[in-house]
């Protein structure tokens, strides 16, 4: 039977090392299957999060050969099996144990976002064309692969100042919502630090839901921030005519 070699991160907190495992492979096998095989045989205490095994719950994010992936969506036949496959936890978040990370920081950021707030005189009718645009953002499964790969968090650890791509997606969905009456541009610029994003698009590259994070969420939000804070003509017109 064909076999695949793995180097899996084992350890608690910031301590840990890669441990070698050999796993027999079957057709259609994904990396999560291999982790389950290791749990069943050599290391029952291997910590790995998962739920749906269908790329829908966002629990099984890890770094496979250095790339943020959903382990349940990453097939072994995509790899050169003559070399070991490395499986590591997400680098941008503290490790609890083995492949399980503590992602609570993301939920804290999420709580700070002003929720959907309908306009006072809302008549609850939406055009399909308006719904289509925000629909894409609802596909997010909160796997945090984009948060993990974003160099602003990963390399520069600007966590207090920068909210990260997943939350720009959420804010874009709210800001572009045809019935929402809230304005989140000030928070986007000052608290969420959208200016730190240099649109290098790694978030888009890794998103398993294929959300065009940079083109459809971040850049449109950057443009709205420009309208409010950096466009001299718009600022002049606003100060002359007092329009918001």
């Amino acid at each position: 039977m064909e076999q695949a070699k793995f180097k899996v991160h084992r350890g608690e907190g910031s301590q840990g090392q890669d441990v070698d495992y050999t796993v027999p492979i079957e057709e259609g096998m994904v990396v999560l299957d291999a982790m389950h095989y290791i749990q069943k045989t050599a290391s029952p205490d291997l910590a790995v999060r998962w739920n749906c095994k269908a790329a829908k719950c966002g629990s099984c994010s890890a770094e496979v050969n250095g790339k943020p992936r959903l382990m349940c969506k990453t097939r072994l036949d995509d790899f050169n099996l003559s070399e070991p496959i490395t499986v590591r936890p997400m680098k941008s978040f503290p490790v609890i144990k083995d492949l399980a990370c503590d992602v609570k920081w993301n939920y804290e950021v999420n709580k700070k976002i002003k929720p959907f707030t309908p306009k006072d005189d809302t008549d609850w009718i939406m055009y399909q064309r308006d719904v289509d645009r925000v629909q894409e953002f609802r596909k997010c499964i909160e796997c945090f692969a984009c948060q993990n790969v974003c160099h602003v968090l990963r390399d520069h650890n600007l966590k207090p100042k920068f909210a990260g791509p997943r939350f720009f997606v959420r804010v874009a969905g709210l800001e572009m919502h045809p019935l929402d009456g809230e304005n989140r541009l000030e928070e986007l610029r000052n608290d969420m630090g959208i200016g730190f994003c240099n649109i290098t698009k790694c978030c888009t590259e890794v998103c398993p839901e294929d959300i065009h994070i940079t083109d459809n969420a971040i850049i449109p939000m950057k443009e709205r921030v420009v309208d409010k804070y950096y466009d001299p003509l718009k600022m002049l017109l606003r100060s002359l005519f007092g329009k918001k």
Partner: protein, 248 residues
């Protein structure tokens, strides 16, 4: 088993280029660095020449519109080239390309960035990237002149004709138009700034622009190559190295 969470990401003491990636992650930024580098060197050289920019009915796009004034003692290209240069420098796509290829921040996804301290586009000078829409306006004005040059390129001493140069100038202006039409700032101005499209026609235009915008990188590279080639074509014809072939 007790689990202690360390309030720190795993390792911030890494050095540039560190990664677990096993693929050829360095290839894409290297190719972009070479491509952009070639263009910048050629365009600078061509702009400094100040000659060989006209041949028959053709005018090099680096020199269009041709502004010859007494008080300007340098190449006329510099009077206009700052507009397309600023347009491309502040373009969302090129920003990605040169931040990755030249600033190495990051060179590729999951590969450690070069710089230790980082302010992104929140501080001087990169905060000026935010004026991209003004360069869009400037570049759109230049497009009118470039289309005018295309019309002139059909006129061979008062006679209708088509030369290879006509085709080259047409292709160049078409690609530059598509590059501008697919601009993110234009997409914003056309409808991205709205939460709701009251007018169906506006939404149709927005959809078309969004469709072109999906391929902005394609238009960015093809138009860059073509504008350089169009200048080279006219230049080599003017220098007598190439002979322009009449098709019609």
């Amino acid at each position: 088993m007790a689990t202690e969470v360390i309030e720190k990401s795993q390792n911030n003491a890494e050095s540039f280029g560190q990664t677990q990636r096993k693929d050829l992650w360095w290839l894409e930024p290297l190719l972009y660095a070479i491509g952009l580098g070639f263009f910048i060197i050629y365009a600078t050289w061509a702009a400094f020449q100040g000659k060989h920019y006209e041949y028959g009915p053709y005018l090099s796009p680096f020199y269009s519109p041709l502004i010859i004034v007494d008080w300007w003692h340098f190449s006329p290209a510099f009077l206009i080239l700052w507009i397309p240069a600023g347009f491309r420098m502040t373009c969302y796509y090129y920003r990605k390309a040169y931040y990755r290829s030249y600033f190495l921040g990051p060179p590729a996804c999951g590969v450690r960035s070069l710089s230790k301290s980082y302010t992104g586009e929140t501080a001087f000078p990169l905060i000026f990237q935010n004026i991209h829409r003004y360069f869009l306006i400037g570049a759109s004005v230049l497009l009118f002149f470039l289309w005018n040059d295309v019309i002139k390129a059909f006129n061979f001493n008062g006679e209708f004709g088509v030369g290879v140069g006509t085709v080259v100038l047409f292709a160049n202006t078409f690609l530059l138009t598509m590059y501008s039409l697919s601009c993110h700032s234009l997409r914003h101005l056309i409808g991205g700034c709205k939460d709701s499209f009251k007018c169906g026609y506006q939404h149709k235009v927005y959809e078309k622009i969004s469709c072109a915008n999906e391929h902005h990188m394609f238009w960015a590279w093809t138009s860059l190559f073509m504008v350089g080639f169009a200048d080279l074509y006219v230049r080599l014809c003017a220098m007598g190295v190439w002979t322009d072939m009449r098709l019609i």
